[in-house]
């Protein structure tokens, strides 16, 4: 059985839905398939809290947004991409307003903007602190009015179909029935988000297993800058639930065990009572997470059952501001930590939050494979460089989701229909999946055992600070794990809603990504942004003002090469905060 469309989009979060609508806007006659392993409103965009950056105020400028982004990214951003991004972000956010997004407002009815980490001006649009939730629901609800969009909700894509070098669809499992089907299209957009679940402690939802990156990588598209993994400085211990940066933008303080605003010791400025842009608690995430590690070394953190923590202090903001600007922070603290930030200090620690790397694309979302496009966290354009600034990821989903959708639409108009080779690939994949399902009940390892081991290896080797020896050992062990994962037990042999089967498929993809992260980190013998090597503590622009590209060799092992960064107007400089 097979279904045929013009454009197939994998992933139904911010980038995927924006791409689907962009295809419809470009040419409403094109038939669009949106394939997602969860219902669209479950996508992880829903969890984004603080906001979306787009320069609109009279005091702000596109150049300042570009400079903050580029310096925040430690000069690893492609500056042509950043220039397009900052120019299109306000327009995309305005479009969301026209589609009904309940943006927070000024008293006169205009859009309100707030401060955010690493940003020199107030330019972050927000819908209280549920910005991602409102953005996703607005996109999803708006997408319902386009009759040319067909959704495949709760379908898990297992491979890309490639005919004569061109990507022309996917094979996917319908979870409800277990049916395995080919869904063909003349172009394919991947927008499945990141893969924070390769780490043990993450803000990322269970679904964030990097499926789309693995799909593209296996089909031959290189992944870019995978060593750059963002730790957000303020996650709740145990759950890893994110406490938004907006909490600090509204005036929250980070305190060590002595009640001291320790960031002043790390070249991030001097403490003032109120929030100061690009200073102290509003420094960039990489620098704040690194400062935490140093506080641990100095013995100035607080012990908790889940390791060392520091305190986020919001008490001086008062109940009124917290309820108006940070209602979700209060809700999350109450529901999940049983504390009230109006009266209590909030324990926090750095937590894996975002992958700057992803499928290598150009500025139009095109990957190295004809017919394959990518956008959002799955992709690496790169506007985020070595460290993403908070509130740039939601507009990235919109700007590059729209760009990838338009590119996919144009490509679909000219590309030929998929040829007969595709049917055979679909047949082969169906057989592979069925063999796999019914052969695995005798495996010795549990999926969860291998997953946990992978997560521990990555946290130890590819955490906030890294070194060559540990990375080398991790690479070896991950290769072994990849072999073991292929035979790990799947007890569940039924076709209907088999989540264990999906977990097994996710795990094999995650192991490949884990290897990509470790190998890219090993080859980058410098420290830049979120990638800090204790054995190479300085940034090295002579050797590494370059993106890492990981290619998959025929035996499944990763091969790393480098690609120069595009510099337009901002030559590499020193990152200065707090001054």
């Amino acid at each position: 059985m097979s279904a045929s469309h013009d454009v197939v989009i994998v992933g139904a979060g911010g980038a995927g839905l924006r791409a689907a609508i962009a295809v419809s806007e470009t040419d409403p006659r094109l038939s669009v398939a949106v394939v997602s392993k969860v219902y669209p409103m479950r996508s992880h965009t829903v969890s984004a809290e603080g906001g979306a950056a787009g320069a609109i105020s009279a005091e702000d400028s596109l150049d300042e947004h570009a400079y903050d982004t580029i310096s925040g990214g430690d000069w690893l951003c492609d500056q042509d991409a950043v220039e397009s991004f900052v120019a299109e972000a306000p327009r995309e956010l305005m479009r969301l307003e026209h589609w009904g997004c309940p943006w927070s407002r000024e008293p006169d009815g205009h859009i309100a903007v707030r401060a955010f980490g690493g940003m020199k001006k107030k330019r972050t649009w927000f819908a209280a602190d549920k910005t991602g939730f409102h953005l996703l629901h607005t996109l999803f609800q708006t997408s319902l009015k386009y009759p040319n969009i067909t959704r495949y909700d709760e379908w898990y894509a297992t491979r890309l179909l490639v005919d004569d070098g061109r990507v022309c669809g996917v094979v996917a499992i319908e979870l409800m029935s277990g049916l395995i089907e080919t869904i063909t299209g003349r172009s394919v957009v991947i927008a499945t988000g990141g893969g924070g679940r390769v780490f043990p402690f993450t803000t990322n939802a269970a679904i964030k297993t990097g499926d789309g990156m693995a799909l593209a990588y296996r089909a031959g598209a290189p992944l870019k800058d995978m060593e750059f993994v963002q730790y957000h400085p303020t996650g709740l211990p145990f759950t890893g639930i994110l406490i938004t940066e907006a909490a600090r933008a509204e005036g929250g303080w980070l305190l060590n065990k002595d009640g001291y605003r320790y960031l002043q010791d790390y070249d991030l400025g001097t403490p003032q009572p109120g929030p100061v842009l690009r200073s102290m608690e509003l420094g960039p995430r990489d620098r704040l997470s690194q400062a935490f590690e140093h506080e641990v070394e100095k013995g100035r953190t607080i012990d908790s059952p889940y390791g060392p923590v520091v305190h986020l202090d919001l008490r001086h903001l008062g109940e009124k501001i917290i309820d108006a600007k940070l209602p979700m922070v209060r809700e999350l603290c109450r529901d999940y930590e049983r504390i009230d930030p109006v009266h209590d200090l909030v324990p926090v620690r750095p937590v894996v939050h975002y992958m700057m790397g992803g499928v290598h694309t150009d500025i139009d979302g095109a990957t190295a494979l004809p017919g394959l496009f990518a956008a959002g966290e799955t992709a690496c354009v790169s506007i985020n460089g070595a460290n993403r600034l908070g509130s740039n990821s939601l507009p990235e989903c919109l700007v590059f989701g729209a760009r990838a959708g338009r590119s996919a639409a144009l490509h679909a108009a000219d590309a030929p229909r998929p040829g007969p080779a595709v049917e055979k690939q679909g047949h082969d994949e169906r057989r592979r999946l069925d063999n796999d399902l019914f052969r695995r009940d005798t495996g010795t390892d549990r999926i969860s055992t291998i997953r946990k081991r992978m997560q521990t290896i990555l946290e130890d080797a590819a955490g906030i600070y890294r070194d060559g020896d540990t990375l080398t050992k991790a690479a070896d062990e991950l290769r072994e794990l990849r072999e073991r994962a292929a035979t790990a037990a799947v007890d569940d042999t039924s076709r209907r809603f088999n989540t264990e089967r999906v977990a097994g498929l996710e795990l094999t993809g995650m192991l490949e990504l884990a290897e990509c992260i470790v190998h890219s980190a090993l080859r980058r013998e410098e420290s830049r942004g979120a990638h800090q090597r204790t054995d190479f503590p300085e940034r090295d622009d002579n050797r590494f003002l370059a993106h890492s590209l990981v290619h998959r060799e025929p035996d499944g092992s990763p091969r790393v090469s480098h690609l120069p960064v595009t510099i337009t107007r901002w030559p590499p400089g020193k990152r200065v905060y707090g001054r």
């Binding site: 479950r42 026209h98 927070s104 989540t499």
Partner: protein, 248 residues
């Protein structure tokens, strides 16, 4: 306090030989900060990989993990085991939906209804994006904000006795969403949506039991939305009697 608690989990695997609905007991650690969902994940990872359920964000915003916990519809990520001790804790799929398997229910009907109420901004004339935003004061935003907070977790449908008897009822979340757009100062689509809300399976089916609002984990108050929508529908009905040329 014991360091274990029993989860009595509804199992249903129609493909299997012994696939009749039944309960299975699993002992899981009883930890201070474990939610019911952590217990289920412990079962899945350590005890029985065949258990099927949905979850994702585990922070109460994605709406995936709604189940009946001791007979009440709950988000399992936000319902804590210590509050249910000593147990056993009965965990079942959400009421009023067909069960696909184990704790996974079929949402096809709701997804269809969601599209039916036209949950998007409808304008007589759309302004170009270049002309910037539709102005909306904080007070105008506050008029509908509460009804925009629905996470589609389906707890209200599981709680709704009317939906339990008649699945044609549009239901609390979908009506609340329609009402959210009707109340939005930027929207001009209320009469279009009214034709759906005012049909027999629309707002009039609701007997105002209020169970939906009690079950809602996000304070949306769908019952309030339905009551307000009834009033709007009644006013519209009176208008169309008095001013028949206004109706479409």
């Amino acid at each position: 306090m014991s360091d274990q608690i029993t989860l009595r989990v509804a199992r249903y695997r129609p493909e299997e030989e012994d696939g009749e609905p039944a309960f299975a007991d699993y002992d899981v650690p009883l930890r201070q900060d474990w939610a019911v969902l952590d217990g289920l994940n412990y079962i899945k990872d350590e005890l029985d990989g065949t258990l099927a359920y949905r979850w994702s964000c585990r922070m109460g915003i994605c709406g995936s993990c709604g189940m009946m916990v001791n007979g009440e519809p709950k988000l399992t990520c936000a319902t804590f085991l210590t509050d249910l001790a000593p147990g056993p804790v009965r965990i079942e799929p959400l009421d009023n939906f067909p069960v696909i398997r184990d704790l996974v229910v079929d949402l096809t009907d709701f997804m269809h209804k969601l599209g039916q109420v036209k949950p998007w901004l409808i304008r007589d004339e759309e302004k170009p994006v270049e002309e910037r935003e539709y102005l909306q004061t904080p007070a105008e935003l506050a008029d509908f904000k509460q009804f925009s907070m629905c996470i589609n977790c389906m707890l209200c449908y599981a709680a709704c006795p009317v939906y339990g008897l008649d699945s044609n009822f549009v239901g609390p979340a979908a009506i609340a969403l329609a009402h959210r757009y009707n109340l939005d100062s930027r929207d001009e689509g209320d009469r279009e949506r009214l034709t759906i809300l005012a049909q027999p399976e629309g707002v009039w089916d609701c007997t105002f039991v209020g169970e939906c609002s009690a079950a809602c984990p996000k304070g949306v108050d769908p019952a309030g939305a339905i009551q307000q929508a009834k009033l709007a529908a009644a006013q519209e009905a009176v208008k169309s009697l008095l001013l028949p040329w206004r109706s479409k």
